[in-house]
Amino acid sequence: MKKTENMVWRFFASVRLALFTLLILATTSVIGTLIPQKNPPGFYIDSFGQRTAQFFQLLDVPDMYNSWWFLSLLFLFSINLIVCTIDRLPNVWQMVVLNNLDTDPERLEKMPHRQLFHASENTDALTETAIALLAKNGWKAAHENKPDGSLIFSQKTPWSRLGVYAVHLSILVIFAGAIIGSLLGFKAGIMLPEGGASGTVYESGTGSPIPLGFTVQCDDFNVEYYADGATPKEYRSVLTVEENGKTTIDKRPIIVNDPLHYKGITFYQSSYEPMQGFNVIITNTKTKASQSFQIPFGQKNSWAEGGIEFGIINQEVRSRMGDVNRLKVWFSDGQGEPSIFWMDNSASQTITNPTATYEFAASQVYATGLQVAKDPGVWTVYAGCTLMLIGLYVAFFLSHRRIWVYITREENENRCRILVCGATSKNKIAFEKEFAALVQGFTNDSSFHNA
């Protein structure tokens, strides 16, 4: 029993398994980059044939990154990390908190970096000098009297040994954030025509309705183009949020890369659709009377107050989507001939009639496409990412460096023997230099003589 337990433990704690899982994850991930993901079943039948498509369905290839086997691989990877950590961390922790003033003198004699000195002074004076020398080189030291002399110890960044574990932990934190997001969050979308509002959004993929608990309204949508007239410069929606009959967000503009956050739900500008219709504002410049309308294309409308009739009788479309470039207006206030003219979309035109002048502004009605996401795990993911970067820096570029100075009396020779020695957890070459600089400090001091 003990033995099998041990074998299972060893298996899950092994780095061999980690290498295996990493390579399997790397190779299988390629599949989803070659075979388009999340298309409807018909797509796979058309592209790969009936039998292959069936085989794909069996292995969830059309959504492989959420398939049972891919998630199992990630699960195995996590178990591996956890077991490996439980297996090794206690020993590493010991190294971090170890009292190095208890180190066995025999082990000091075998340290990878060593230098011997002799001196004629007594141990107390030598201890003081050595501590000062260490301090001069940036080593803060502690010391302890020993039966035959004195031991001085100093170390730098012992906690850097934990860097690796911070990296490993960060992977689990990121996974935890992803799980929180997929359990408690959603990804959805909605199309809102200008002036339209909704309290429901529709889940991506399934299309099932998700109530928001408040309503979001699109007051306005605009596309702005660069001077070349073809490249879009900005997509901008203006959103208003109402909750319990109260306006809680009033006319907040959003653009791509600057979404609206409200109660843990985020609204992203993602697409738009031109609609068959126009927003029209007519202003009588003398009386300042003004009225806005939303009218369909090709119908006669009237503004009773001013005795005005008008309509959009033709339009020039710029793209296959149906964006209107210019539109043709028919306008009459019953005085004289009706005005008929072309104007740019989203512009305004002055109409001068015998008895009055009018300002006529028209713009095509758009619907804005909003991506709506709720992801309560995202801050956990970001915390994991930050931890990973810090952990990698610590694991790669910092090391646990230790220096001992062991001073012993040699009674028969009437002098002291001084052993300066050190060890590093990694990056030997850099430590060698650091150690040499320290030893040079001892050599230059008149109290010490090279042995």
């Binding site: 780095v15 061999r16 980690a18 290498l19 990493l22 390579l23 994850l25 790397a26 991930s29 390629v30 989803g32 980059t33 070659l34 388009p36 993901q37 990154y65 992803a178 990804k187 660069y226 001077a227 070349d228 490249t231 879009p232 410069k233 900005e234 997509y235 653009i255 791509v256 890369n257 600057d258 979404p259 985020t266 992203y268 500008q269 993602s270 991506q371 709506v372 996401a373 992801d375 995202v378 993911v381 970001y382 990412c385 990973m388 970067l389 990698l392 820096y393 790669f396 570029f397 070459i429």
Partner: protein, 276 residues
């Protein structure tokens, strides 16, 4: 003088620098070493000026943006990153032979850039983000380190294959295998840190633009595959004591994956990243 002319000069300057380093190695002409370094530093400055001027030109056109947003600009920045990573290593390791195995990558990146259209085009809304700038810079410093590491991998294999036979003076002038191995390792660590930062900044950007930090789009997935490969490489070294030829091969293989992530995905697969 406009930026594409400056960057055209940069191409020749990097090419010249690569040729000088290789000549220095082949003809064991130590004397031209300093000249090679000066040419490289000069090329790097022209490259920097070219990027700066392009930035300025975009502002003159009223569409100011950091020139890191399409294949042309990213290749130019890739060359710049390789040059700075290499110059750093030349100073750090006091060894010019590394240049023969690094600067050809910078020249190649500029030649590839030369095949692209250098027109300055305005940025579509999705690309107007400071996270994009952080994303491109971090990724390309990582890519550049991996390019240099693969060059060192090639150097290792060249030296190793010949060392047992009658090692010619050419081979003898390469650094010790142990030294090359150490350089490969350090460069991989450096690259891995930046690649990780690159993937993370990309995720943050995606989240601010689309509301998902990860969507398994082919480019994202390939960057993760590359990351897995390097993670496996580092673990094989730390915990299983791999070194030498095997790590040299992995440094080369990892870079093939980098190049596929960067270049191959755009042409062979479809996805969100239609630019560099």
């Amino acid at each position: 003088m406009n930026s594409s002319q400056l960057l055209g000069i940069t191409t020749f300057a990097y090419l010249f620098s690569a040729v000088l380093y290789i000549a220095m190695l082949v003809f064991r002409a130590k004397k031209i070493g300093l000249f090679a370094t000066l040419v490289t530093a000069g090329a790097f400055l022209i490259n920097t000026a070219g990027i700066g001027l392009r930035w300025y030109e975009s502002h003159q056109m009223g569409i100011g943006y950091a020139p890191l947003s399409n294949m042309y600009e990213s290749l130019v920045f890739f060359a710049w990153s390789i040059a700075i990573v290499y110059l750093f290593m030349e100073i750090r390791y006091k060894n010019r032979v590394l240049g023969a195995f690094s600067m050809p990558f910078a020249a190649l990146a500029m030649i590839l850039a030369g095949l692209k259209n250098p027109d300055i085009k305005p940025l579509i809304p999705a690309l107007q983000s400071n996270w994009l700038i952080a994303h491109v810079i971090t990724c390309f410093i990582g890519y550049a380190a991996f390019a240099v590491a693969s060059g060192m991998g090639i150097m290792y294999l060249v030296k190793d294959r010949r060392s047992d036979k009658t090692a010619g003076p050419l081979i003898a002038s390469l650094p010790d295998l142990k030294v090359i191995d150490d350089i490969i390792h350090k460069t991989l660590l450096f690259g891995f840190l930046w690649l990780t930062a690159g993937i993370i900044t990309g995720a943050v950007w995606a989240n601010s633009a689309w509301g998902t930090y990860w969507s398994w789009d082919p480019k994202e997935t390939w960057s993760l595959i590359t990351w897995f490969i390097y993670a496996a490489t580092l673990h094989a070294r730390f915990t299983r004591g791999w070194g030498g030829r095997r790590i040299a091969w992995l440094a080369i293989g990892g870079f093939v994956s980098v190049m596929f992530t960067y270049y191959g995905v755009n042409y062979l697969l479809s996805g969100l990243h239609s630019y560099g």
